[in-house]
């Protein structure tokens, strides 16, 4: 599998470290339902068979955290963007 790093170009996936679903956003710890929200954020997953937006870290390259679209049925790669560029406050897709 090869991931097109937006900075380094296409590299073998072995250069990257996988974290998982990029959808969940870290909740507000001060909200009254923070415990439940954090449980959901950390543990519950849609886990789709098909296109999946996920976080990868280009650990052996530029050390960018990337938001990667990838198909979990075919391993086809879609859009890849730097997570930092997407910003903190962007709502979940």
């Amino acid at each position: 599998m090869r991931i097109p790093c937006p900075l380094c170009g296409e590299r073998d996936a072995s250069e990257f470290t996988y974290l998982g679903d990029a959808g969940p956003r870290r909740p507000d710890p001060t909200a009254p339902d923070a415990a439940e929200a954090f449980h959901d954020y950390l543990h519950l997953r849609d886990n789709p068979a098909g296109w999946h937006v996920e976080l990868w870290y280009h650990e052996a390259g530029c050390r960018s955290w990337l938001q990667v679209s990838r198909n979990t049925l075919t391993h086809e790669l879609g859009e890849v963007r730097r997570a930092e560029d997407l910003g903190l406050d962007e709502p979940s897709p």
């Binding site: 599998m1 090869r2 296409e10 073998d12 996936a13 470290t17 974290l19 870290r26 710890p29 001060t30 923070a34 415990a35 954090f38 449980h39 950390l42 976080l55 870290y57 650990e59 050390r63 960018s64 955290w65 075919t74 391993h75 086809e76 790669l77 730097r82 997570a83 930092e84 997407l86 910003g87 903190l88």
Partner: protein, 1017 residues
């Protein structure tokens, strides 16, 4: 052109023949005096089962043995049936040998692909005492008992007999060849390659594809598993562009070799298609040599990234299932032609051809042309006739609508019985039988990403599916283009398309002229009239009857069939078996072949040595070694080293006269407590953090407060995972207004850095901070003990005041040492003593340890290793790896109060879950044995006094133990339920796996200086 009726007229002659001793010639040379692609001017000697033979350059082991009249090459797996050569390629199920001797022995090596070299040694396998006399062959008589899956139905009584009796017997029969038992002495390497077009297979289609793409300027890699390019052209007598096929192939190769943008890889099998256009290929660099030349690998594993690929792997011929179709002397027709035309070997002195298509007729024609005797062509088609374009077959008998039903010959074929279309039976004395059941495209690689081949009735075969791996196209016989002309045309077309897709302008290629015979296959899977077993999977001894049994018992899906009968599970992966078995299952179920299923293939296409996948990463080179800056110095001191992750660290420094490691470690510990010790702590992770928001960031990644760390101060930091459990601990020093340096544990340096980057880039991209690892930049030494300051005063340049007032506990700063070398000084203590860590640029690390030792001589300085480091921290009650095991919370470690509830930090929300705050939770406390002579052991579990050692009584476990030379007895740290409330209580530390059961007292984890006076001294 012969009139078909004349051929039919010859049938009478064949029918009248008695069984004459055709096998008698078996031992004589079967090599023709001329013809073929071997170099008769040179002779290569080799041996098989200890007997010496000779062959020629260009031979395979199989062709050389056949040339020497050796037909019996091996035994089958289950019934130990005598077996010869079936094929001339990598699909071979029968002719497996142990190649080479000693540590280089390679079991299960297909003789059909072994390139002959001088001095080659091979031996037959899976037989005892000898290949001709194999006692286990008697098992063949029991075959009615040993049906598919018989072992699931027996060996159950008495129960204890399975491991003791039955299974050992089964395991004695297991496997084929033997490993040497010694480490593989050869070396292996990996190589990376990138290309526009990867062409897999160098037959007519592949050569044409490579030539077309290469001429267009594309970066091309052409790989072929054979040692000579040409593919089927080498085995047939076809001409291409008016040139003999092999010579045309040589011409193309020569042109390709002259193109800078083309790389040709002979002896290279593309074994797998992986994601993103990555192809795995194995190059047999030195398998055709007795031993690899110095410095060279035996094999090279290529990882090829190709924008486009053309699969031109040809096709594999199918056998036909008939009674005893497995005898030596029965070959696939295409293989028989390969031995004849490429190697100049006759595989029988008198040969019959059994075919269901025109293709088998080529064998008859080539044999006749070579002056060999053809007993008959037995063609399953009732209206069979000699195909157009084949000549010289006027005198060959034809049995149209015929079937071979039985064969004879214990160790090699002597005769066959066949039926004609009217059911008349006749015997033919033959020692060769060439069988052609049609061709299966070698589409294996197209399945590697999940595509399923599709059945084509008109071609009576599976063809590659439409959902091919991205970038892969198929050409030639692999795509069903079975004629040479079709292969050339498809190769040119796919090669052009691939080059164009990679951005190269292609001139429309003109494929050379070649035969374009029609493909007429009337599929014929098995001879129903045969009473004897008819083999499908030769190696695993799966017969038509086994498929019928599987059907009867309900194992009807293709996967059930394979798993129940072991069809297709042998070293050839069913390349010559799966399609026939599927067709027979279709017959039995009354469904069509596509309704019944399909056969798919997974990597690797042909088996790949495990060594090749490991490459250079083996033995001591399994993983890189990280050495500390003081490594060479420690070696000079005679240090004993220990692997801690990738690092090698000094474990202790033995002195003359010390005979037990404890003596060294006790001395080192006492030296730190009583004088001063020095330890290389470079391995701790160091992360440079700069930016306006660095402080705020630290306050969020540490559980304890970091917002107000003053300049010039260090603070202990506890880092949680988001789930509330402890991730790591360490210290962070503030060196500047917006400049911090974090240390992590050695083990967690990489994951913590990754986590911090996650927090910085993903969670809080608005914060201004930059991270970079400086673990490698600084050589860092702990200087610990009551005389640490005295020693450092010799090292730190005098303009820096390091007095207790100016540089108190938890102070830090940039200093210079040894006359101007810049350094960092931290007043930190892991041991509980007055201690510092001093860091210098790593280039000075070696000099620094020497300077510290020289300067410290006056203070009795002692180097200490990781073992003493461990004892010191246990005495002080500091948690380390055994406690920070990812399963502990801050509360477990007695640091619950450090987790700030007032701020947002990673982990504090979920750390409040009830499961992390149960009343009977584990707490880290100290333990001492009641009998001070007793040794504590880590991993022991705590059981209340007087209670049984059972799981229900389990109260926790000992995490770390040490012999404390200061206290004079064994001490331990452990996690026990409600530990903090139970100081003074006595429990048992039960270590069943070490046979220990020690009564211990629960004590404070701070065995030394609980008030912390020493470290502030």
């Amino acid at each position: 052109m012969t009139a078909p009726d004349r051929i039919v007229a010859k049938e009478g002659i064949a029918a009248r023949e008695a069984a004459r001793p055709a096998g008698a010639a078996a031992a004589a040379s079967c090599r023709r005096r001329e013809g073929g692609l071997i170099d008769r001017s040179r002779s290569l000697s080799f041996s098989f089962d200890g007997k010496a033979f000779a062959g020629h350059p260009g031979d395979t082991l199989a062709s050389a043995l056949l040339a020497n009249g050796v037909r019996l090459l091996g035994r089958s797996f289950k019934y130990h049936r005598p077996r010869g050569v079936l094929t001339a390629g990598s699909e071979e199920p029968n002719a497996l040998v142990e190649l080479r001797g000693g540590a280089r022995r390679e079991p299960n090596t297909r003789a059909t692909v072994v390139e002959l070299y001088d001095g080659l040694e091979a031996a037959s396998q899976n037989r005892w005492p000898s290949l001709r006399f194999d006692l286990a062959g008697a098992g063949d008589l029991l075959s009615p008992l040993l049906t598919a899956g018989f072992y699931y139905k027996t060996f159950m009584w008495p129960a204890a007999f399975w491991e003791k009796v039955y299974e050992p017997l089964i395991r004695r029969a297991a496997g084929l060849g033997r490993l040497s038992g010694a480490p593989d002495p050869d070396s292996y390497e990996k190589s990376y390659a990138f290309c526009d077009v990867l062409v897999i297979g160098a037959g007519p289609a592949g050569l044409m594809a490579a030539l077309t793409a290469g001429r267009a300027g594309a970066r091309v890699i052409l790989a072929d598993e054979d040692f000579r390019v040409g593919g089927r052209l080498l085995a047939e007598t076809h001409e291409v562009g008016g040139r003999p096929g092999p010579l045309w192939a040589d011409d193309v190769l020569a042109e390709l070799a002259g193109l800078d943008n083309v790389r040709c890889l002979p002896r290279t099998t593309v074994y797998g298609v992986y994601d993103g256009g990555t192809y795995g290929a194995l190059e047999r660099v030195a398998d055709h040599l007795p031993v690899p030349p110095p410095g060279r690998p035996r094999q090279r594993l290529w990882k090829i990234v190709a924008r486009r690929a053309v699969l031109a792997a040809g096709a594999t011929e199918r056998p036909i299932a008939f009674g005893d179709n497995d005898r030596p002397g029965i070959l696939l027709a295409g293989a028989q032609r390969s031995y004849l035309n490429r190697f100049g070997v006759l595989t029988g002195s008198r040969t019959a051809v059994f075919t269901c298509s025109d293709d088998g007729w080529r064998s008859a024609a080539d044999l006749v042309r070579a002056g060999a005797e053809v007993a008959a062509v037995i063609d399953t088609r009732p209206d069979a006739r000699c195909p157009d374009g084949l000549t010289g077959l006027e005198d060959v008998a034809l049995i149209a609508g015929g079937r071979v039903v039985e064969t004879r010959g214990r160790l090699g074929l002597t005769s066959i019985d066949c039926l004609d279309r009217d059911g008349r039976r006749r015997s033919l004395a033959v020692d060769g039988l060439a069988v052609s059941g049609g061709w299966n495209p070698a589409l294996h690689l197209t399945c590697h990403q999940g595509a399923r081949p599709v059945w084509r009735d008109d071609l009576a075969t599976f063809l590659p599916a439409d959902d091919l791996p991205p970038g892969l196209a198929v050409a030639g016989a692999a795509a069903g283009g079975f004629s040479t002309a079709a292969a050339l045309a498809q190769g040119a077309e796919r090669g052009a398309a691939a080059a164009e897709a990679a951005g190269h302008a292609v001139r429309k290629p003109e494929p050379p002229e070649a035969e374009d015979g029609p493909v007429a296959v009337t599929p014929f899977w098995h001879v129903k009239e045969s009473r004897a077993r008819a083999w499908l999977d030769f190696q695993n001894d799966v017969t038509v009857k086994d498929v019928a049994l599987a059907h009867r018992e309900g194992f009807r899906s293709v996967e059930h069939l394979k798993r129940y009968t072991t069809l297709g599970m042998a070293t050839d992966q069913g390349k010559t078996a799966n399609v026939q078995a599927l067709a027979i299952m279709a017959e039995l179920t009354g469904k069509s072949i596509p309704e019944t299923g399909t056969t798919v293939f997974r990597p690797p296409y042909t088996p790949v040595a495990i060594s090749a996948f490991a490459g250079r990463s083996r033995g001591k080179d399994f993983r890189p070694v990280r050495k500390t800056p003081s490594h060479d110095w420690a070696v000079e001191q005679g240090a004993v080293f220990v692997e801690t992750g990738a690092w090698l660290r000094a474990q202790w420094f033995p002195r003359p006269g010390e005979t037990h490691w404890r003596q060294s470690v006790d001395r080192e510990v006492l030296a730190v407590r009583n004088a001063v010790g020095v330890c290389d702590v470079t391995t701790l992770g160091k992360i440079d953090i700069q930016g306006a928001d660095a402080g705020a960031f630290l306050n969020r990644v540490y559980a304890n407060g970091f917002a107000k760390l003053p300049l010039g101060k260090v603070r202990y930091g506890l880092m949680l995972r988001e789930d509330g459990f402890v991730m790591d601990d360490g210290t962070t020093a503030r060196l500047g207004e917006a400049h911090y340096v974090m240390t992590t544990t050695t083990a967690k340096a990489v994951p913590v850095f990754r986590h911090l980057e996650f927090c910085r880039q993903v969670l809080w991209p608005g914060l201004d901070l930059q991270l970079i690892s400086t673990t490698e930049q600084w050589a860092q030494f702990a200087v610990a003990g009551p005389r640490a300051r005295d020693l450092l005063r010799e090292i730190v340049d005098p303009d820096h005041d390091i007095s207790n007032q100016a540089f108190p506990y938890m102070a830090c700063g940039e200093v210079t040492v040894c006359g101007g070398t810049r350094a960092r000084l931290f007043r930190l203590s892991f041991s509980g003593e007055l201690a510092y860590e001093v860091a210098v640029p790593a280039r000075y690390g070696d000099a620094m340890i020497r300077a510290l030792m020289a300067a410290g001589a006056a203070f009795e300085v002692t180097p200490y290793g990781t073992e003493a480091l461990g004892v010191l921290r246990i005495e002080k009650g500091h948690p380390a790896g055994n406690e920070l095991n990812g399963q502990t919370t801050a509360a477990n470690l007695g640091m619950g109060r450090m987790v700030s509830k007032k701020k947002d930090c990673i982990g504090n929300v979920l750390s409040e879950r009830p499961g992390l705050n149960a009343p009977d939770d584990l707490r880290l406390v100290g333990f001492v044995p009641l009998d001070r002579r007793a040794q504590l052991t880590a991993g022991a579990h705590f059981i209340a006094l007087g209670r049984a050692a059972v799981a229900a009584e389990d109260q926790g476990y000992m995490t770390s133990v040490a012999h404390s030379p200061n206290l004079g007895h064994s001490i331990g740290l452990g996690l026990i339920q409600r530990g903090g409330e139970r100081i003074g209580e006595k429990v048992r530390a039960v270590d069943l796996v070490r046979g220990a059961d020690v009564e211990v007292e629960i004590v404070s984890p701070h065995f030394i200086d609980p008030e912390g006076e020493r470290l502030r001294a």
